[in-house]
Symmetry: C2
Subunit: 446 residues, 2 copies
Amino acid sequence: MNFVIIGADAAGMSAASRAKRNQPDLNATVLEKTRDVSYSACGMPYNIADPGRPIEELVVRTAEVFREKQGINLLTGHEVQQVDPVNKTVAGKTLEGNEFRVPYDKLLIATGAAPIIPQLPGFTLPGVMALKSLADGRRLKKYLASNIVKTVVILGMGYIGLEMAEALHARGIDVAMVKSRPQFLPWMESSLAQAVREELDKKGVTLYPGHAVKKIEQTQNRLNVVCPDLSLNCDMVLVAVGITPNSALADQAGLDLGPGKSIAVDRRLQTSDRNIYSAGDCADAYHVVTGQKTWIPLALRANRAGWAAADNVCGETVELEGVAGTAVFKVFDLEAARTGLTTEEAASSGFTPEAVTITARSRAHAHPGSSVIHVQMVGDKKSGRLLGAQMVGRDGVAHRINAPAVALHNRMTVAAFSQADLSYAPPFGPTWDPLLTAANQLMKKM
Amino acid sequence: MNFVIIGADAAGMSAASRAKRNQPDLNATVLEKTRDVSYSACGMPYNIADPGRPIEELVVRTAEVFREKQGINLLTGHEVQQVDPVNKTVAGKTLEGNEFRVPYDKLLIATGAAPIIPQLPGFTLPGVMALKSLADGRRLKKYLASNIVKTVVILGMGYIGLEMAEALHARGIDVAMVKSRPQFLPWMESSLAQAVREELDKKGVTLYPGHAVKKIEQTQNRLNVVCPDLSLNCDMVLVAVGITPNSALADQAGLDLGPGKSIAVDRRLQTSDRNIYSAGDCADAYHVVTGQKTWIPLALRANRAGWAAADNVCGETVELEGVAGTAVFKVFDLEAARTGLTTEEAASSGFTPEAVTITARSRAHAHPGSSVIHVQMVGDKKSGRLLGAQMVGRDGVAHRINAPAVALHNRMTVAAFSQADLSYAPPFGPTWDPLLTAANQLMKKM
C-alpha cells in the first residue's frame, strides 16, 4: 500500500512512524515543502530566549533517522501543489524546480497552519518576522544575532506573542505589544486576565490594546509601527496576530472544510473523501464538551491525530473522542491555563452557564512559598455539568488544569467533580485544592 | 436540635462550622479532650523544620473565633469516656477532674487517630517522640529547642517518617531510619521506591529496613535504639510506625467497625446507629475503584466528611462517593504521589492487574530544567479499566496525579484515559504527558 503524507512535522511524521511500526512493508512517502522535519515548534520561544542554544536543538528526529532507521521515504523540498482525488495522485514541484507526481492509496494531509500576515504596507520589510515554522525561528534568531535589536514591537497578544515577550525580555530587549481589539485576553475571565496583565506591567512590557496597525515604515535603520493614534519605533516587529489552517490544497480537491476553514475530519480523521485523511493544525476536531466541531490547533492533538490516522490507514478502527481545549502558557513567572468552554462559548453553544471566580493559595495555610492562585469555573445551570475552568498563578497551575480536563471528557457534573479525591500535602496545596474550592462555590449557584 | 461532636480538629470543626452555617439556631457542642482545636497536623514537619516558626502558626482558627464569631459551644479539656446510644448522652471528665454528661439528638464521632506506640521497653523515655497531635508537635519542637540534638532515629518509613527526615535534616540533624519489614516502601513499585531511596541516600539519611526494634535504652545523656543485630545511638527517637483509629468509644457503644478497626460509616457518614455519625481519621470510607470499604485516613476526606455529616444532620441528603486513595508526599527534592490501587491491591480486590513502569521527562524535549519522571500505571486486563497510578519525580508530580484520580472516579478505561486532552507547553511537560505515555504503553499489554 502507498501511504502518502503531505507535511513532515508533528502529525505527518507521527503518522509515518506509526504506520511503519504497524506495517513494516507499507510504503510511506512523506512530501515536505521545506527542508525541516519533526521539530518542536512550541519550543521556539524558549530557544530564542537563549542566544547560546542552536535552533537545531529543537529537531526531535532528523530526516536521516526517519529514512535510514525507519524506512520512511521522506522527500524534503517537495511542495505539493495539487491533490487529485479521482486519479489518487498528488503533484507538485521541488525546490529545485522539478515537477513530481506521486500516486497514493491513502493520503494524509498534514499541512499545518500558517501565520496570518496582514496585507498592509511594510509587512514584508526585512525586520518584520513571524514565528510558526522552524525556518521562521531560524530567520528570527539570525536577525537578533546580526542586528542591534533593543526594542521589539509584537503585534498580537496570543500565546506566541506572550511567550515571545518573555523570550525577548530575557535577552534584554524592550517589548511593546499592540493589538487591534480593545480587550487584552478576551477569552480569559477579567480578573484572571488582569493578573496576567499586571505580570507584564511588572516586567516592563508595554501593552497597547485597541490599536489597529495601518502600516510598518522603514525609518533609517529602524522600523516604525504606525496606528491611527500611535506610532512605535523599534528594531524588529513580530507579527503574531493569529494562524490560519493550510487547507487550500484540500479545498481545491473539493474536500469539506470545517470551522475557520480547517479541513473537516470525522473521529477517524477521515475527510469527506474516504481515501484522504487529515491531521494536525490544518484539521478540525470534535469538542468533548459541546460535541460540535471546533478548530483548536495544538501539538498534542496533532501527534495523537497522526497516530490515529495511521492506525486507521493500516486497517485498525481508532476513533478519537476529541479535544477539551486544554492549553497552558507561561508568561514570566505566571502560569495560565484553561480547559473547556468560557462563559461566552458556553452560552453560544446552547448551555446556560453559571460561573465563579475565586482566589486561593497555591500551598497550605502558613506554608512558605505559597502564592495566590486564581480559578474561574464554568458550569451548566440546567444539567449541572462542568463546562470549563481557567487558572492563573505562579505555582502548580499547568498540571492542576488536567483534573478538570479529565472531568470534561467524562461529562462530570460540578457536584461530582467537587467530590474528587485530589492530592494534598502542605508544600503543594491547601487541603481543599483551589479547584475544589471553586467547585464548592459554583455548586451553591447552581 | 443538639448536635454534639466529639473531637475538635479537621472533621469535627468542619462539621460544627457547616452545621451552624446551615442552621444558625442549632446547638452545636464540641467536646475536645485537649486544649487544641483546628490545626494543620500535616503542616507539622514543615513547621518543625524551621526553629523560627512558632508551632501555633499551624492553628487555622482559634477556639475564640469558633465560640464568639460562629456561636459554637466549643468545650476544650473535655474528654468523652462513654457514649450511651440508648439514652443519647455522652459522658466524661474534664482535665480539671469534673464529670460531665451531655445529651444529644445527633452525635458526630470525630476522634481521629493515634500514633501506634509499641509496648516495648524504653518507649516512654523523655526523648522518645511521636507526631500526630499538635501537643506532640509542641513537645517535639520544645525538645529540639532545649536539648542538643545531633542525631535522630526515626522508627518507620511512612509519610510522616519521610517528611520528618527532611525536616530534621533541614535543622542540621543526622537522621537514621529503621523499620522492621525488609521492604523500603512496600506499596510503591520497586523502581519508583528506588528513586526515593536514592534521594534519601544522597542527602545522607541512613536507612535500616528489616530491623525490628526490641527496646530503647537511656545511656547517660543519649538514647540507644536496640535491634537484634543493630544498635543506634541518638539524641532523640521519633516513633512513626503507623497510626490507628480512635474507635474505642464507638466500639464500646456497640457501633459496627470497619477495616483496621475504623468506625464503619455509610455514604452519608452514618454509623450503625442512625443518630450517630463519624468522620475523619477514625472513620472508614468506600474506595471508588473497588467499591469496597477501606481505611485511608487523610485530611481532605476528613474535611469533606465533616461537611457531609453536618449537611445530613441538618436534613439534607449528601452522599460521598468515596476515596481514590490519592496521596502525595515530598522527600527533599522529590515528589512522590499515588492514586488508586497498587498491583497487589488490585489482585487482592479481584481484578486482573496489568502494569507498566515508564520513565519520561518532566518538561519538553531540549527544555532547560527538565528532569526524570517515573510513572507506574495499573489497569485491569478484563475490563480495561484504569486502576491506579504512582509517580516519582522532581517536577510537577503532585498535581499530575490528579488527572488519573479524576479518571478513577469516572471508572475510565486506560484507552479512554490515553485520549485525555492534557495541557502542554514546553516549560511544563513533553507533548505527550508522562501519564499519557504510560497509558499508551499499558494499552499495548491489555
